[in-house]
């Protein structure tokens, strides 16, 4: 059995007669088509990935544009040295979370990164959905009856600012 197989392989390699043109052309065409499909598949995959990435960027930008927070009320407690900031998500984006808050006046600046956002009933939350209201507190020593400005930055990168008097 093994001898027979060896003979066949040896005959194939040492046969000096060429393949017929039909067979060679068929093989060549098959190879080209296979290669074409492979490249097409790769192109399709790459373009799909690119499209998905582009769609994600567009969606992220839209969500960012649709974000809108308003400052409902700011109250500075002089005895506790805490500033309570009440917000409402009146935009059209859900999951609006805060990353930073900045307090400043003409000669002073302070940033806050550890912001604990809460609903009005005191429940801790990570973000505000559409129409939801919440608040956070900042421990800060402000001068009463002095003008300040507060700036908050959302996770999507939007920035909202309002002046207030402590």
């Amino acid at each position: 059995m093994e001898n027979r197989l060896t003979r066949i392989i040896r005959r194939l390699f040492f046969n000096r007669r060429a393949f017929s043109p039909v067979i060679s052309n068929t093989l060549l065409a098959g190879a080209v088509i296979a290669l074409g499909f492979a490249v097409l598949s790769w192109t399709y995959t790459r373009s799909s990935v690119f499209n998905l990435e582009y769609a994600d960027v567009v969606e992220a930008n839209l969500d960012k544009i649709k974000e809108k927070l308003v400052f409902e009320y700011l109250f500075y407690n002089t005895s506790e040295n805490t500033l309570t900031v009440y917000l409402m998500n009146c935009g059209k984006s859900n999951n609006v979370s805060l990353t930073n808050a900045y307090l400043s006046n003409s000669s002073w600046f302070q940033s806050f990164s550890d912001i604990e956002l809460m609903f009005l009933n005191g429940t801790l939350t990570q973000s505000l959905d559409i129409g939801e209201e919440g608040y956070f507190k900042l421990s800060v020593n402000l001068v009463a009856n002095t003008g300040y400005s507060i700036r908050i930055v959302t996770e999507r990168g939007r920035l909202f600012e309002t002046p207030f008097i402590a």
Binding site: T43, S47, N51, Y54, I65, E72, Y73, C90, K92, L120
Partner: protein, 305 residues
């Protein structure tokens, strides 16, 4: 072919995505336009405090071209340096709609340690993120007038009298007969609208010793119609329960009994049997907050015909 396929696929997708983005931007712009076009007018604003509740009475009108949803009422007590909000409001106003929040419909905000005489700053927050301040201009002006003659103000033009359909039931109640010409020698009751405009914004309670008094003059006997409670169908109660008026509240008070119902029983009273003009007075007695209160309102002139 492959390059063309690649670029076509990506290019078409980008066009679709850009269109979607433009649509989103237009939507945001429309939101901004709607937000700018919101116009809410708030009038007849009054406050009262009962326990830990601040009651805000107001008339709210949507004068803008877009419907408005009011979701939160904020109240800041400037005197006590306290604040509170009611975020359970769900007031929907179509264009031109007017809603009145008075009496039991007054809007409530929980705030500890507040007082009716304190200075309040309230505002509504709409769903689109607009703020609508509530200003108390009219209340201040009228209250200043009331300080000169007392805390209860009379609506002169809504004075009315009622005739009886039975011994203890008024006809055409509560409409009655508006005017100052009253039939002579007839069993009648009198009705008038009183408003609490107390500058300290406390509740006034009127007790059974209050009456509509007509002094005697030549040929006409003195008459006194004491205060009564009247059911919605016009039936006069045989006993009297004190009537309370919160700050800014208006109620129609009826005077019908010839006896003080805290001291005696109900009985009807006739008008004088003479063609004559008489002066009348409202003698009011009760409490203002927890303190005693009494007021004499120079009233209307009546012609008996």
């Amino acid at each position: 072919m492959i390059v063309l396929f690649f670029y076509t696929n990506v290019f078409m997708f980008i066009i679709v995505q850009n269109a979607s983005f433009q649509e989103g931007v237009s939507e945001v712009n429309q939101e901004d336009v709607d937000r700018i076009n919101e116009k809410i007018t708030v009038s007849n604003v009054n406050y009262s405090v009962v326990g830990n509740q601040v009651y805000v009475e107001a008339q709210v009108t949507n004068d803008g071209p877009v419907s408005v949803q009011i979701i939160t009422l904020w109240v800041v007590d400037k005197t006590a340096q306290k604040y509170g909000c009611n975020d359970t409001l769900n007031i929907n106003l179509k264009t031109g709609d007017t809603l009145v929040f008075t009496g039991s419909d007054a809007l409530k905000v929980t705030m500890e340690g507040s007082n009716s005489s304190n200075v309040f700053t309230p505002w509504f927050v709409t769903e689109r993120g607009n703020f609508v301040p509530l200003e108390q201009e009219q209340g201040i002006i009228v209250a200043q007038l009331a300080q000169g003659i007392g805390s209860l103000a009379l609506d002169l033009y809504n004075f009315r009298y009622f005739t009886y359909v039975s011994d203890q039931k008024l006809g055409s109640y509560p409409t009655g007969n508006i005017g100052f010409n009253v039939p002579k020698n007839t069993y009648v009751a009198f009705g008038c609208h009183l408003t609490n405009l107390d500058p300290s914004k406390q509740t006034i309670t009127i007790d059974s010793h209050s009456l509509f008094w007509q002094p005697g003059r030549s040929g006409v006997s003195e008459g006194a119609w004491f205060i009564v409670n009247v059911n919605v169908d016009g039936t006069i109660s045989g006993t009297y329960s004190p009537i309370s008026l919160g700050y800014g509240e208006t109620k129609m008070i009826v005077f019908a009994s010839q006896n003080d119902l805290g001291l005696g029983s109900f009985g009807r009273l006739r008008t004088p049997n003479a063609l004559t003009t008489v002066a009348t007075f409202l003698l009011l007695h009760g409490t203002l907050g927890s303190a005693a209160y009494a007021q004499n309102i120079p009233f209307v002139s009546l012609f008996y015909y």
